[in-house]
Structures are given as C-alpha cells and as structure tokens.
Symmetry: C2
Subunit: 350 residues, 2 copies
Amino acid sequence: MSTTITLPSACDFHIHARQGVLMEMVVPQIAEGGVSLCYVMPNLKPPITSTEQALAYKAQLQKLAPNVTFLMSLYLCQELTPEEIRNAKKHGIVGVKSYPRGVTTNSESGIESYSIYYPVFKAMEEVGMILNLHGELPSDVDQDTCVMNAEEKFLVHLKQLHNDFPKLKIVLEHATTKAAVDMVKSLGDTIGCTITIHHLQLIVDDWAGQCHNFCKPVAKFPHDRQALRDIILEGHPRFFLGTDSAPHPAYLKECSHSSAGVFTTPLAIPYLATILDSFGALDCLRKFACENGKKFYGVSEEEGKYREITLIKETSLVPHLYSFDKSLEEREGSVVPFLAGKNLTWRIIN
Amino acid sequence: MSTTITLPSACDFHIHARQGVLMEMVVPQIAEGGVSLCYVMPNLKPPITSTEQALAYKAQLQKLAPNVTFLMSLYLCQELTPEEIRNAKKHGIVGVKSYPRGVTTNSESGIESYSIYYPVFKAMEEVGMILNLHGELPSDVDQDTCVMNAEEKFLVHLKQLHNDFPKLKIVLEHATTKAAVDMVKSLGDTIGCTITIHHLQLIVDDWAGQCHNFCKPVAKFPHDRQALRDIILEGHPRFFLGTDSAPHPAYLKECSHSSAGVFTTPLAIPYLATILDSFGALDCLRKFACENGKKFYGVSEEEGKYREITLIKETSLVPHLYSFDKSLEEREGSVVPFLAGKNLTWRIIN
C-alpha cells in the first residue's frame, strides 16, 4: 500500500477567515493545511452585504495569503437588491450566503420569508451566482424543532427553492444528517452539498459536554455520520469539502455558554486524510477535496492558484493550542484546534 | 390567587450527597432547599457496596443534617450477594442502584448481564428492597445507540425485569423521554419513575454548548419535555421528584471535557415551584414532591423527620456560585448552580 498521496490542489468551500488578529493567524494557515482555494463566509461584524465590502475583505485576505484563491460571498439580507447582485457578479463575487437569522426576519415561522428574497434569487439565477444555505430551521418548542431536527425540517424548503429556481445553483452547507444526504441526492444537478471534516468524525456524544466539538449544526446520530461517510465512499459528484472551520478563543469555548464552531484550518487535509483513511475512503479524498467542488462551482483550473501537495502516512500530534495574540493570557489569545492533543496518521510533507 | 403554598414535607428520591468538603456544603443545603427526606446515591469513591459502608456514610450525613431523613442505597456490583441483601434490609438499607457501567460488565451488548444479578434481584423482591435503574444503554455506534436514544433503547429491559420480578419495586431514575413515560405508565404498580427538576426545564438546545446544563441522561426533544410535564399535570401516582442533583466544581464543568450533572439541591423546591408554575402545574407540586414518592417507597409518616415549608410568590435571584472551599481559587472551590443568575418566582420563607 502506498504511503504517500499527491493531490493536485485542495479546496475548502466553506471557511470562516475572521478579522483582525485572528484573521492574521488563520489566513496563512489555509495553505499550511493543504488548501489552495477557499470560499469565504460573509458573517463578519458588520456582515459583508456589498460588493465593495467583499472586495476590500478579499484584498486583506489576499495580502495575507498571496498563493491562495479566495472566492467571496455576500450575506443575504433585505438591503441586497437584484442590481447589487448584477454588480457583485461583474466584480467576481461568487455567491450569497443565507443564515437562519436572515431567514426568520419578518416571519413568524421563519422560513416563509424566503419569498421576500425571490427577486434576488431570480437575479442570481440569471447571472449565475451560487446560493449557500445554512439549512436549519430556528428552534421552536411549539413545533418540536430543536438542534437535533432543525436540519431535517429545513429540507422541504431546499426542495421548494430548487423547484422555484431550477437553474439556480444552491449549496446545502455542512450537511449533518442522512435526511440531508438523501434529499440532495434526490434533487437535480444544480444542488450541491458541503460536508465538514468534523462531521465525518463526530456524533452527538462527542459534543455532549465537550465544548470544542460543539458547532452548529450539531453532530447527530451514528447513522447520520454513516450517511455522510457513505456518500463520500460512493464518490457522488455533488458532495464536496467545506470545513466550516470557525476559530474562537479558548475562553469563549471553555465557559458557561460556548461559542459554536470547530477549528480545522491549520491541518485541514491531514485531518481529512486521517479520517477518510479510518473508514476506508482514502481513495475518495481527491474527488471530495479537489475535484467535485470545483466542478460544481464551475471554477476553471486557470482561475485558481493551485499547489500540489504530498501527504505521507506518518503520525503527528495536533497542537493543544494555536496562539493568535501573545499579549493576551493563554485562554484569551489562543484557539484550541479540532482533536487537540490527538494523533493524525497523515501529514503534509511539502 | 394564593401567593403562598404550604407543603407538609418534600422528598428528593435521587440525590448525590458527595464526600469531603463538597458533602459538607451540600448536605446542610438539603433542608435549605426545602427537602426533608432524601434517597442517597451510592456512587462514591469507592462506591458503597456493603451495609457497613452505607451505615457509616449515613452517620456522616445525619451529623451534617440532623433534621433530614436519609434513605440509603447500595451500588449494584458482582460482589453483592443475596446474603448481603438480607443483611442490608435488616439494617434499614432501602435499595440498590444499577449504573450502566455495572450493566456492561462481562457482556458485549451491555444489558444482557442483568441475568447475573437475578439471584440478587430475587432476594430484593423477597425482602422488599427497591431497585433503582439508571436506564440507559451504553453508546454503541454499530447499534446506532447514542446519548439521544440510550434511554428509549433501554426500556425493553425495564419491561423484561418487571416481567421476571413482578413484585420487585423498580424505579426508572431521571426519565427524560416520552417513551420512558409511556413505558412506566404501561407497567404495573411496582414500577415507579423519578423526574428531575432540570429535565422539566431543559431541552437538547439548552445543553448544546452550555456545560452547566449538561447531565446524563441528556435533556431531549421538546415533545419529550412536554411528556414529563404532562405526566405531572396528570398527577400520576408513580411519578415523583428525584433531582439527581450532582454538584461539580466549576472548573470541571467549564473545560474541554465537562463533568455531567446539574446542581439543584440548595433551591430544590423553589426551582420546582417556579418551573411547575410556568406550565400551570403548581397544583401538582404537593403530589409530585411530597406524596407520590413516599407512597411508592412505602415510607410511613412516622419514619420521616418532616418539616412543613411555606413558599411565597416573590422573585429571588439564583446565586452565581456556591463556595465549598474558600482556600481554593473560585473556579476550583465553588459550584455553579442550575439557572445561575436567573430569577426564581417562588421562595421558601420558613
């Protein structure tokens, strides 16, 4: 059996690059983790709602990582007009991200308010922009909706959007359930789906009392994790890597109300290779991390600044912390990565 | 509407009284929280497996709280013999607690090993001791068993035990699911069930990233919480209060691997009155907290050292911390209680 793997490039179609000192740590780690191209989330403070903001942010990122390709997105909100969509497309913005908070605006049961965005979606469909969905209904006790079924209950709305905009490319982000996998498979070629690294590893037990494994959507049942693994083993072309890597300072995790998010950027591809290897899917690494996403997004090879990476089957330890501000106390100025202190079985050697 | 409630006594049929300095803080709080009688869990270090240990522990507790009645239990393990059961009964020990760890000993799929305890259960049935079950299967990915369905999957074993020992009184501890409520209701009069304070308040969302709400069994879906509330509203006689109050120092909660447990002892009855009031069940407080449990356990009024308490409808703040060791740093020497910093609407005035 081969002990090295060479990948032509790897893409992360869902990353939180952050701002300020945290951004200055994270962005150079994208390449260290083996990723050449990433799709950047717009949920900054304030959120990125205009082309101008997106381009300014992209310039910051590009300066920190000249050899990485950054695909930019806007934050779906009521200020976003069809005109701004056309302007964004002209300036190379790739997509628009919808969060549940936006979804609930001016709507009692949440999701119905998509209809107010239909003119925007129409414009996106016409110009060829991607709609990225955080696919969860807001929790609602009266409807028995909670973090464990919020994704499954969202899926009818994905189906509806697909019916209403059959040519609009939509990505269901960070799928966590068998129901989501089945729904995406059942829909047309304009529906894609990202899967994170951590959701290939975790189940609900792993975030019960373990704040560093807590993220939204939460990891679910063992059979859900198996469905995520199976779709990668199947090599389905519309499923691809989006890490949703979301660093938070340690003190905002190890506290009474933990921030949601798992940090995987600095070791993204080593994590992924280790986990895929654990369930016999190493052969699927290339399609899942390098090919499927680019094809779905229609990114040409020429567009990307790609770097070939070579992985070797060797044990290495995940650091306990990554420091982003040495002037702060350790828990305030550093981030605990996914699987901190654990061994990975693959590492990048170039 | 009356703004005071007088209760003849209140009983907590599931309490962790701890050891050492933590015990010295917790045990006097039992009466402060409005409880006159409690059933004490045996999972100490080392666990209480003999009558002698149980009586020595009881003496420690009684010294710290002379006006509280302590009912004692043994930890189910392979060393426990039918002879020791008879000896325990003679010395006033009330029951035997089964934990999942014990359940899994010498058994691949866990629960089958109950059969090795059948001679013990037979002796318990004969002498009239209570079997207390932590009713969860161990998590098992291959069986799709995880913290969210571990209780529901256990219930067939409760039913089997009831069939095999129809006269043995069994308590399903800290029920968290509609399935558990339905199963207990469907079984005979020898099957009782405790419900904690926190499971009447929490759903899965509330422990997602909130370590102080994390306990085992975990809180589940909204419809599960509703089933717990409904059975209290129904006034069903075989359901009664068992808080499972389980204090841990704050630093063992606010960390990467949180200890499981919610601490409710110091305000037990004010918490309960506040929560029952929130869903219109204040009229059921007396049956649930004072009457049903005693009847199920067969505790006579003469046995208990009962204290009448009066609650008044007045707002009071739950402390942020309870200190048990002032010589330690705050996070090491104190416990964060349930609903820390929140308002309760009922408080005890005598």
